[in-house]
C-alpha cells in the first residue's frame, strides 16, 4: 500500500502519495499548476519553467518535484503569476503564432494559457524567425513556426519497435524538432493522431485533417484552462 504524506498547498493541509509528482498531487487537491512541457504519462523534463512554484520558499518546477512530508508549497503569488505570464509572452514573441489561421486554435495549451493570463501583447519584441513548414511526410505536417520545443513528442511518441519518431536537430536558438524519416515511415493513423494530440500547440498536424470543431465548442472556448482543477 502506498504511504501518504502531509504537505501544505497555499497554506492548506493536503495529503498525497509519497513521491507523487507535485503537479498531479496539486490537481488531486483541486489546485491548478499550469504546465506546458509536462504531459501526464511521460517522464517530466522541466523545460518550460511555467510550472514554477515555491517549495519551502524556493522556486522549483512542480513537474519535476516529488511530494515529501511537511513540504510547504505556494503555487500562487503575484510574482509567480507575472513570471508565468512572461513565459507565455516569450513563447509568443519567439515563434510565429498566427492564431487566426492555426488549426489548433481553441484547443491549444499555449493560447489557453495566454487567455488565462490575459496576454494582450507580449512585452518582448516579436522576432519573426524564419521557420519552415514541412509537409513531406505522408501522414504528418510539421509547422516549425509554432513549435515551443517542449519535446513532448520526442519523449511520448514511439513506433511499434519502441523507437522515437521525433528527434531534435541543431542547438540553442536554432533547435528544431524533426520527424525521423526512418522510424516514422510506417506509422499508423492512430499514432499520427497521438502525435498531433501530444503536442500542446499546432506544431504537429495530421495530413488531411483541418478545422473540425466549430468555434464555440472547442476545448478552451468557454472556460479557462485549469478550471477543471479549481475547487
Amino acid at each position: 500500500m502506498a504511504s501518504f504524506v502531509r504537505f501544505t498547498l497555499d497554506g492548506r493541509e493536503c495529503l498525497a502519495e509519497e513521491g507523487a509528482q507535485l503537479v498531479a498531487a496539486a490537481k488531486e487537491c483541486g489546485v491548478f499548476i499550469p504546465t506546458l512541457c509536462n504531459c501526464p504519462g511521460i517522464p517530466p523534463k522541466g523545460a518550460c519553467r511555467i510550472c514554477t512554484v515555491l517549495v519551502n520558499g524556493m522556486p522549483h518546477t512542480a513537474c519535476t518535484t516529488r511530494v515529501v512530508e511537511d513540504m510547504a508549497v505556494v503555487t500562487r503569488t503575484p510574482e509567480l503569476e507575472a513570471f508565468r505570464k512572461s513565459v507565455v509572452e516569450i513563447l509568443f514573441a519567439e515563434g510565429n503564432h498566427l492564431c487566426p489561421s492555426c488549426e489548433r486554435s481553441g484547443n491549444c495549451e499555449l493560447q489557453a494559457l495566454a487567455y488565462r493570463y490575459r496576454v494582450t501583447v507580449p512585452h518582448f519584441p516579436y522576432l519573426f524567425p524564419k521557420r519552415d513548414v514541412e509537409a513531406w511526410h505522408p501522414k504528418l505536417v510539421k509547422d516549425h513556426n509554432r513549435c515551443i520545443q517542449c519535446k513532448r513528442c520526442i519523449r511520448g511518441i514511439r513506433n511499434d519497435k519502441g523507437q522515437a519518431i521525433f528527434a531534435f536537430g541543431k542547438r540553442g536558438d536554432k533547435v528544431v524538432i524533426n520527424i525521423d524519416p526512418e522510424t516514422s515511415k510506417d506509422i499508423s493513423d492512430e499514432l499520427a493522431q497521438q502525435a498531433m494530440d501530444i503536442c500542446p500547440v499546432g506544431a504537429i498536424l495530421r495530413k488531411g485533417k483541418g478545422f473540425d470543431t466549430p468555434i464555440g465548442r472547442r476545448t478552451y472556448d468557454r472556460a479557462p484552462i485549469g478550471s477543471e482543477a479549481a475547487p
Binding site: N96, P100, R118
Partner: protein, 189 residues
C-alpha cells in the same frame, strides 16, 4: 439630446491600416447598441463618416491593422498626435497578423512572387512591371505591429475582437471604469 450631454461626448477616431476592415465590421456588429454609442461618442476622422483629416483633438483612437507601407506609418503617427488614448484593435494591429506572414520572406521575393513568378501571374503582367509609381504608398521591408511604430495605450485581441469586447472597451474608456476583460470575449481568433 440636451446640449450638456452633447458637450460631454467623447470624440472617437478610427482607421484601418494593413487590416481587412474586419475589426470595423465587428464594431458595427454591436448592433442596436450603435444607438447607445452615438449617444456616448462623436465620430471624427473615420471610414464610418468618411472624415479624412484631423481638424480637432480626439479622446480615443481605434487602430485596426499594422503598418505595411509608409502611408500606414503616416496615418498612425497622425493618430498618435491627435488622440489622447490609442487602442490597437485586433491581431494585425497587435502583431501584424496575416500580412506579417511575409515578415520571414525577403521583400524582393514577395514582390517577385506577386508580380512576376507567381502561379496566377502568368500572362497578366506582360511588361513584367513591379509597380513603383510615386503615387502608390511605398511598401515597408516588413509589417510592423503598431506599438513598434508609436506608443499604443491599449490592446484588444481577436481576429476580429468580438463586438462585445469592443463595446465593453469603449464603454470603459468613455466612463473611465476599469474593463472587466471577460473570458468569453477574450480570444485570439
Amino acid at each position: 439630446m440636451s446640449p450638456k450631454s452633447a458637450k460631454a461626448k467623447k470624440i472617437v477616431a478610427t482607421t484601418s491600416l494593413a487590416g481587412c476592415f474586419g475589426c470595423h465590421m465587428s464594431l458595427l456588429d454591436i448592433d442596436e447598441r450603435l444607438f447607445d454609442l452615438i449617444e456616448l461618442v462623436e465620430f471624427h476622422k473615420s471610414p464610418i463618416d468618411d472624415i479624412k483629416t484631423f481638424t480637432k483633438e480626439c479622446d480615443i483612437g481605434l487602430v485596426e491593422g499594422g503598418c505595411c507601407n509608409d502611408e500606414n506609418v503616416h496615418v498612425l503617427t497622425e493618430f498618435r498626435k491627435h488622440c489622447r488614448v490609442l487602442v490597437a484593435v485586433g491581431e494585425c494591429a497587435i502583431m501584424g497578423g496575416l500580412p506579417a506572414m511575409r515578415n520571414t520572406i525577403p521583400l524582393k521575393e514577395c514582390l517577385d512572387e506577386a508580380y512576376l513568378g507567381g502561379a496566377t501571374v502568368a500572362d497578366c503582367n506582360p511588361g513584367r512591371v513591379i509597380p513603383c509609381d510615386p503615387d502608390i504608398p511605398k511598401i515597408l521591408n516588413r509589417v510592423y505591429p503598431c506599438h513598434e511604430v508609436v506608443k499604443m495605450d491599449y490592446f484588444l485581441p481577436g481576429c476580429p475582437p468580438s463586438a462585445d469586447l469592443i463595446w465593453d472597451a469603449l464603454v470603459a474608456l468613455v466612463s473611465g471604469k476599469e474593463l472587466a476583460l471577460e473570458y468569453r470575449t477574450f480570444k485570439f481568433d
